[in-house]
């Protein structure tokens, strides 16, 4: 029993250590500003949107794929919601229907991704790169490139709502992450994900329906981006045509910092969550320190590399040579 359990816990412990070191440093350097409750809640709230996108990205990366279209889906879902519900628009639907339609449209993009990748055999990178451009075009087209305002007040309110002192946005993230940790470990959906990502051929021979599962993975991943789009929408209090632009990089970085391998089969939701926190900590800390923004950018770049370097370094020291090769390839 020992073997695997220990190892897994261990992998994420490195990240936790890196995170704690950063936090302690920042708490001291900002004379406590960083560790104030207000800032901690800020940090979690700020991580939450990328955190939710990154949950979906984790699924895709475990399959051995990649999804560059998440940012555009974020933009699309927020925009569709705004158009559907805006009091200044043509539809004036309720928030409920706005959410349903926004998510459905997001899921449709996921399905198209899956069809292109699984059935069309287009590499995930290209399929989702194309969709990134295409979907952003749609967002621009339906909004004529303009912000759509007049969204319901309860929607805007959500961004400031708190529960037990923790922002509603953060709760959304935490709950979704917990659910997915469970789903990945205890359901067929989750296990099929790892099986297909690890060796698609072997999975097929075990009677797993690859097509059905791939569709499911991409649709679910797109749904997470859809939810993130709504979360972003509450923060912006409008449908913004450029909303979500560039989010794919943060999401991928979170997942990889979280220990997943881009060659598939490996990755956890907890790791990704820690990865998302690490990235936001760097940003948040930089702002609090009030460093020159250019220098800050240089530091952010360096820290992203160093965080993964330390993680790999500790792992390879502990596990001995046997696995060194693995990391080289990962």
């Amino acid at each position: 029993m020992a073997g695997k359990r220990e190892r897994k816990a261990f992998a994420e412990r490195n990240l936790l250590i890196i995170l704690v070191v950063m936090w302690v440093f920042l708490a001291i350097a900002t004379k406590g500003n960083f560790s104030s409750w207000a800032n901690i809640t800020n940090l979690i709230r700020q991580s939450s949107i990328n955190g939710v996108v990154a949950i979906g990205m984790t699924l895709i990366i475990i399959t051995g794929g990649i999804d560059l279209s998440v940012g555009s889906i974020v933009g699309l879902s927020g925009m569709i919601y705004a158009i559907m519900t805006s009091t200044r628009g043509d539809f004036k639907l309720s928030s409920f229907w706005g959410i349903i339609i926004a998510l459905a449209v997001g899921a449709l993009v996921g399905l198209i991704n899956a069809v292109a990748i699984h059935d069309g055999k287009v590499p995930a990178f290209i399929a989702t790169l194309g969709m990134m451009t295409l979907v952003r075009g749609i967002v621009m087209y339906v909004s004529s490139g303009r912000m759509v305002t007049g969204v319901p007040t309860e929607y805007r309110q959500f961004a400031v709502d708190e529960f037990l002192g923790i922002p509603a946005l953060a709760w959304t993230w935490i709950i979704l992450a917990l659910v997915m940790i469970f789903v990945l470990k205890y359901t067929k959906f989750g296990r099929n994900l790892y099986a297909i990502g690890s060796n698609e051929e072997a999975a097929r021979l075990s009677g797993i329906n690859i097509r059905f599962n791939m569709y499911a993975f991409y649709i679910v991943a797109a749904l997470f981006s859809g939810v993130a789009g709504l979360m972003l929408g509450t923060r912006m209090a409008a449908g913004v045509p450029t909303g979500g632009q560039g989010y794919e990089l943060d999401a991928i970085a979170s997942v990889v910092i979280g220990g997943a391998s881009l060659s598939g089969g490996v990755g956890t939701i907890l790791g990704t969550a820690l990865g998302a926190l690490i990235i936001q900590t760097i940003r948040n800390g930089g702002n609090l320190l009030g460093v020159d923004p250019f220098i800050m950018q240089i530091i952010i770049g360096a820290i992203i590399i160093l965080a993964v370097f330390f993680d790999q370094f500790i792992k390879s020291r502990k596990k001995g040579e046997g696995l060194k090769k693995l990391f080289k390839r990962a």
Binding site: N33, S36, A38, N39, N42, R45, Q46, I49, V139, M140, S143, G145, R146, M147, T149, R156, A159, V160, L232, R235, M236, A237, A238, V240, P241, T242, G243, Q245, G246, Q280, R283, N284, N287, L288, G290, P293, F294, Q297
Partner: protein
């Protein structure tokens, strides 16, 4: 010392650098009475990042915030909360709805766009070109409000004063000079009756100017651009661009900080101040240097 936070839309362009010079000059002129700290995301596309920055800035409890927000809605609740906490809020360049604030300083971008149309028609007339044919519109990015306003201002005005000039579908170039030049090259090939260009920011302006300059089209194609940076000024001088529509970023930054300082001290402020646009043509170039290059006014 009062702490004044100065949040720009992006740190990667001259325009915001000019604003920062204005802000820092104000700090200098206040002679130690206020400390100005500059914040900003690397790119204007990072709306959410700017909101995060604002949240973090509010947490540091400054005495005033001078902000040019990328979004008119996103920071409302945070700004309003800060305002209610007693932090003075001065909005520059872009308005924010649903928040309390002390003053708003901005340029009207649609008016700027309309000026561009006027100048284009003037240039065509001066060149003896008939007011018909096609006009290319090169835009840096889709979905950015100020650009959309400039483009709309330009298109609407041109329709009024030269209805026979047809504005071609906008080409967006991802704020890349090379791609803007590509777009200009392509439009020249596609439309033999092309008579002019409007480029809605500095990078698109340079791209268009480069093509005109390289092909010696100064007397055939009239181009007007927004913003000013050294290459655009050079192009204006060489005739590749016929006019520049310039905001007053330095003034915006300077006045922004000064207004913040006044607000902290309880001075009355106007709710809105139009910082205006300047239309610069070659003949007044000499006299406009301080507007065109606020770096020359750097005092610190």
């Amino acid at each position: 010392v009062y702490n004044i936070a100065f949040i720009v839309k992006a740190t990667d362009s001259d325009f915001w650098q000019y604003t920062i010079v204005g802000g820092k000059n104000a700090e200098h002129d206040l002679q130690g009475l206020a400390k100005v700290t500059v914040y900003g995301p690397p790119s204007e596309a990072d709306i959410d990042l700017q909101v995060s920055i604002l949240e973090n800035v509010v947490n540091t409890k400054p005495d005033a915030i001078v902000i040019s927000s990328t979004s008119s809605e996103a920071p409302s609740l945070i700004l309003d909360a800060a305002y209610k906490q007693g932090i003075k809020i001065v909005l520059i360049d872009n308005f924010v709805y649903d928040t309390g604030y002390n003053s708003f300083l901005a340029t009207n971008n649609a008016v700027g766009g309309a000026h561009a149309a006027d100048k284009l028609v003037e240039a065509l007339k001066a060149n003896g070109t008939a007011l018909k044919g096609k006009v290319g519109l090169i835009s840096a990015m889709a979905g950015v409000q100020v650009l959309t306003d400039r483009d709309a201002g330009f298109t609407n005005r041109l329709k009024e004063i030269a209805p026979d000039l047809q504005v071609l579908p906008t080409i967006y170039t991802n704020n890349d000079i090379s791609r803007s030049a590509n777009a200009a090259e392509d439009l020249l090939i596609a439309h033999s009756d092309l008579v002019g260009f409007f480029a809605d920011n500095n990078h698109t302006g340079i791209g268009v100017a480069r093509v005109i300059e390289q092909r010696g089209l100064e007397n055939k194609i009239m181009a007007v651009a927004y913003d000013s940076d050294p290459l655009e000024i050079e192009a204006l001088d060489s005739g590749a661009l016929k006019a520049l529509i310039v905001q007053d970023p330095h003034g915006m930054g300077y006045k922004g900080v000064m207004f913040a300082f006044m607000a902290i001290n309880g001075e009355p402020l106007p709710a809105y101040l139009d910082t205006g646009v300047y239309v610069i043509t070659k003949d007044i170039l000499e006299d406009s240097m301080m507007i065109l290059d606020p770096f020359s006014r750097k005092k610190y």
